[in-house]
Amino acid sequence: MLRFILARLFSTIIVVFGVACLVFLLIHLVPGDPVDMMLGENAQMADRQALREALGLNQPVGIQLLNYFVHLLQGDLGTSLHSREPVVQILAERIPATVELAIASLLISCLIAFPLGIIAALNKGRAWDKTAMGVSMLGVSVPNFLLGPVLILVFSIYLGWLPVSGRDGLVSMILPAVTLGTALAAVLSRMIRSTLLEVLHEDFIRTARAKGDSYYQVVIRHALPNAMLPIITLLGLQLGVLLGGAVITETVFSWPGIGKLTIDSIMKRDYPVIQACVLLISLTYVVVNMLTDLVYAWIDPRIRLGQSS
């Protein structure tokens, strides 16, 4: 187990290092001079020089990279070009909103996906299965930036039940969470269906049935717990859908989280903030996936034993 943890940690560190390098390189992708892009072409020479020094762009790339990592390790993500505040502070203000939204969407997607997936698996090939999978296919094909406005149209404008946008109490969270959760639910329900179908063919299910357990008892006591393991890993991977989708969903609903901050900073050409947002979102994803893998290995000895032999 220790060897597995170390190997997994090592590969995570390499990925984290690579992600940080790539995010660092982003600013060098700006066509032409990034300073010109930020200040416009009519800026004074002195202003340009000052900004160049503030960003450290006057130094060789190697030194810049080194400085970047030294600051990163000290938890210093630079200063916003726009508001002059430390980027860490800006991020800290926005994190709670995104975490709230992510948790709510995860709950909603589980509430939709589990019934849908289970119904489909238990009725494989019948009308129920086809309907459930049709609904899920529809969910995959409707992008956030369409579902969001449609939900606003129905529930905020026509019915007037829910606020259009902003973050003001639990009620305002419903529409963004449903928008974000639906995309995840669509993918998740397909996975639950296929995993459950695999488990239902196992011998221990037949044994449990032969012992005289009722069908639903077998599904709930034997099939679901065994199907949970792969589902949890897939859930970790699908968190990417959630985090990536949050950028668009938060923009649709003016939800003041990290995703909206990313887009706002892109519009303001506030490069340090863009870099920090991208770094934060990807690192969260990497760490969550590492933790899922470790938990999986801890629960299922087949993984860690297979790895070390």
Binding site: S11, I14, V15, V16, G18, V19, L22, L26, I27, L29, V30, P31, M37, M137, L138, V140, S141, V142, P143, N144, F145, L146, P149, V150, I152, L153, I157, L239, G240, V241, L242, L243, G244, G245, V247, I248, T251, V252, T262, I263, I266, M267, Y271, I274, V278, I281, S282, Y285, V286
Partner: protein, 270 residues
């Protein structure tokens, strides 16, 4: 079978509509002041937008945008990804190790995030959208091609070719890539659907096509401001987008089932 015909039919309409729209006398940017925000009616099926431009004409023009972007991005991603993935698996060793790490690093950026950051930093414009989506898109194909090649590179015909002294490049292009093309083709079909969504998403965020050019994504964004009076500005491009994506996904599903030899054996066995 009917559903397959329907989805293939929708895809054909999408591509043909995009192409034909290019040389039809469309009023894409023609402003009709008297028709501002006019909702669909008997004389005009799709209505007019907030500047009095006909939604139908803009829909066709947006269709061209999504079609061209999707096909270009997929062509670039599939060719780059397949060659890199196959090379990586076939050559093995240090090269394979480095490629695997690079793939892992790219996959660490969730969903559309890296494309948003790239397009955002390079500046808005449809060229940058194509670049951003291709830079992100090759990774999935490389991973797939690598995994597939690993499972077929010890087949007899490859070993026979090696023994006969065939060059590595010839083995890769003549003996490996054709063998792994089936799963790559299925993946490419799903890829088209996700690129259509991604392009519309980037345009929705204002990072894609620039006004006055039309894209389904930018049409939806402009429409959200007038949702109370003219919901058709969101619903029409939205429905078009959804229909195309759904059709492509269904076709991909069907293609996968059809090409999946394992599943067919199971079916005939029962």
């Amino acid at each position: 079978m009917n559903r397959v015909n329907l989805s293939v039919g929708i895809m054909i309409i999408w591509v043909l509509g995009s192409l034909i729209g290019q040389w039809l006398p469309l009023d894409v940017n023609q402003i009709h002041l008297e028709a501002i925000l006019k909702t669909p009616g008997a004389d005009n099926w799709f209505g007019y937008d907030d500047l009095g431009r006909p939604v139908f004409d803009r829909l066709l023009s947006g269709s061209y945008t999504s079609c061209v972007v999707a096909l270009t991005v997929i062509a670039l991603s599939v060719s780059m990804g397949t060659v890199i993935g196959t090379l990586s698996a076939y050559l093995g060793g240090g090269f394979d190790h480095i490629i695997t790490r690079i793939i892992d690093i790219f996959l660490a950026f969730p969903g559309i995030l890296l494309a948003i950051a790239l397009a955002g930093i390079m500046g808005p414009g449809i060229d940058n959208v194509v670049i951003a989506l291709s830079v992100v898109g090759w990774v999935g194909f490389a991973r797939l091609a690598r995994a597939q090649t690993l499972s077929v590179k010890h087949r007899e015909h490859v070993i026979a070719a090696e023994v006969m002294g065939t060059g590595r490049m010839k083995i890769i292009f003549r003996h490996l890539i054709p063998l792994i093309s089936t799963p790559v083709l299925v993946e490419a079909t799903f890829g088209v659907a996700s690129v259509v969504i991604a392009e519309a998403g980037l345009s929705f965020l204002g990072l894609g096509v620039q006004a006055p050019d039309a894209s389904w994504g930018s049409m939806i964004r402009d429409g959200t401001r007038y949702m109370l009076v003219a919901p058709h500005l969101v619903l029409i491009p939205g429905l078009a987008l959804m229909t195309v994506v759904l059709a492509v996904n269904l076709a991909g599903d069907r293609l996968r089932d059809k090409l999946d030899v394992k599943m067919q054996i199971n079916k005939s066995g029962v």
